[in-house]
Symmetry: C2
Subunit: 271 residues, 2 copies
């Protein structure tokens, strides 16, 4: 069982694509929120967005990873194309969508002088306009969502930047047999022991000394004090071994290791 | 002229507090969005939120700093206490507020099983419930907002974490005479030249060698490719000089220097 966001959401498209890399047959179940997906991890696996190329880290997923501490079993990178979904482009006054989708089409929306109304998900946005059938409303979402609700695509690829892509992760407490990949990555979270000059520098030196390539480093507040941060670090697994974690422990309050996982990049493979 | 968010917003409270540190008399003007504040910088100064101790960086402010490149003239850190504003706590079904405020009261809202409706600002949320006068609605916002709209505070200090604080910055193109502070900070943004092992490490070494204390490092996507990041780095100004920028240039595509500014910390000084 794989839990993900609502049918037609970009996460559900990611989940469908993950199925091609999972050896066993798995069924997809749809949840209204990222919370629900994490809560269902006792019963199965989850697919959630972790990072977008334009808007950055998905902070809710990042916070819940820390709280639920699942393994990351795989990641998949998918190009994201947004569509304007509605009835009549000339009559639009307000655009509904998830805040991330609205942010990724900021310039497009600004150009048209439309008002924005953030809602919980792209699926919810399309659901609202399908029910209201008010020509002054339109939604931003996937092609799949427009089909699902039998609504018109008034404009496609409306995202502001060409390289709009999102990285999704497959998470769970149990292992899962996956197809091999050319790239394997690792992911950890750590909290620095002290707020001193060079604290983060010492951490990065451990990676640099071993020529481990960091693919992402992102800070989040520790939620304890302004100025104390935790760091999410992703890296290519090559040259990594358990001695890294042992060394990191010297300079950190804690290290959470999400494990080694295959990375599948579908940019250029799906349109 | 100082532009900030709507009357009663946390930004407007920050702007009011900044007035105590500005030598000249300045008047405050209110804008509906962070965008508008940046657009008004040709005519005056701006006060915008940059970072919250729980939710992290305010990505819209971070993106616009890069686009408009103003100087950072000062920063102020203010404790944030959220209030439940409405009519009757027993009858509440839906909570309206800015997504950051909703996120900062996540556990409190979850405990009550209320639905959430994100809107553009805390001021907008209170405005909506004041107009609708529907007992099933409530808003999250400041004491000032409740007073302004003559609404009841049904519950106070409803934020999930005790150390909830937000850092606001005063920005502009022209200098402004400010009262001295015990702490001075600097802020830069840079894009790494290459995505190679140790690229960020080399950057941090420049600071570590000079014993410059970094107070914050946050990555944002470059908006060009997934995996290419820009870094926002704040530091204590002690030991910093222009040679740092010269050295940084060797390893980066660009460095933007927002300047040296006083830091005022009001935690413990205002309730």
């Amino acid at each position: 069982m794989i839990y993900t966001l609502e049918k037609g959401s970009y996460s559900s498209i990611a989940a469908k694509n993950f199925l091609n890399f999972i050896e066993k047959k798995e069924e997809i179940f749809y949840c209204p929120t990222i919370y629900n997906i994490f809560e269902n991890l006792k019963k199965g696996y989850g697919v959630v967005p972790i990072e977008n190329s334009i808007e950055g880290g998905v902070s809710l997923t990042m916070d819940l990873l820390l709280e639920y501490k699942p393994k990351i079993l795989a990641e998949i990178i998918i190009p994201i194309h947004h569509n304007l979904i509605g009835f009549n482009k000339e009559k639009i006054k307000t655009i509904l969508s998830h805040p991330q989708a609205l942010a990724q089409c900021k310039n497009y929306i600004k150009k048209h002088n439309w008002k924005v109304l953030p809602v919980e998900s792209t699926a919810k946005a399309v659901d609202i306009i399908a029910k209201k059938r008010d020509e002054s409303l339109a939604a931003i979402g996937s092609e799949e969502l427009a089909e699902l609700y039998n609504l018109k695509i008034l404009d496609s690829k409306i995202e502001d930047y060409k390289n709009n892509a999102t990285r999704f992760i497959l998470i769970g407490y149990d292992d899962l047999k996956l197809k091999p990949s050319k790239n394997y990555k690792g992911s950890i979270v750590l909290e620095l022991k002290e707020d001193k000059p060079g604290a983060l520098y010492r951490i990065l030196k451990i990676f640099a000394d071993r020529e481990i390539n960091l693919t992402r480093i992102e800070s989040r507040p520790s939620k304890r004090l302004l100025g104390i941060y935790i760091f999410y670090i992703d890296f290519e697994y090559k040259n990594f071994d358990s001695s890294v974690i042992e060394e990191l422990k010297k300079y950190t309050n804690y290290v959470i290791n999400f494990g080694k996982f295959p990375s599948y990049n579908l940019i250029g493979e799906i349109k």
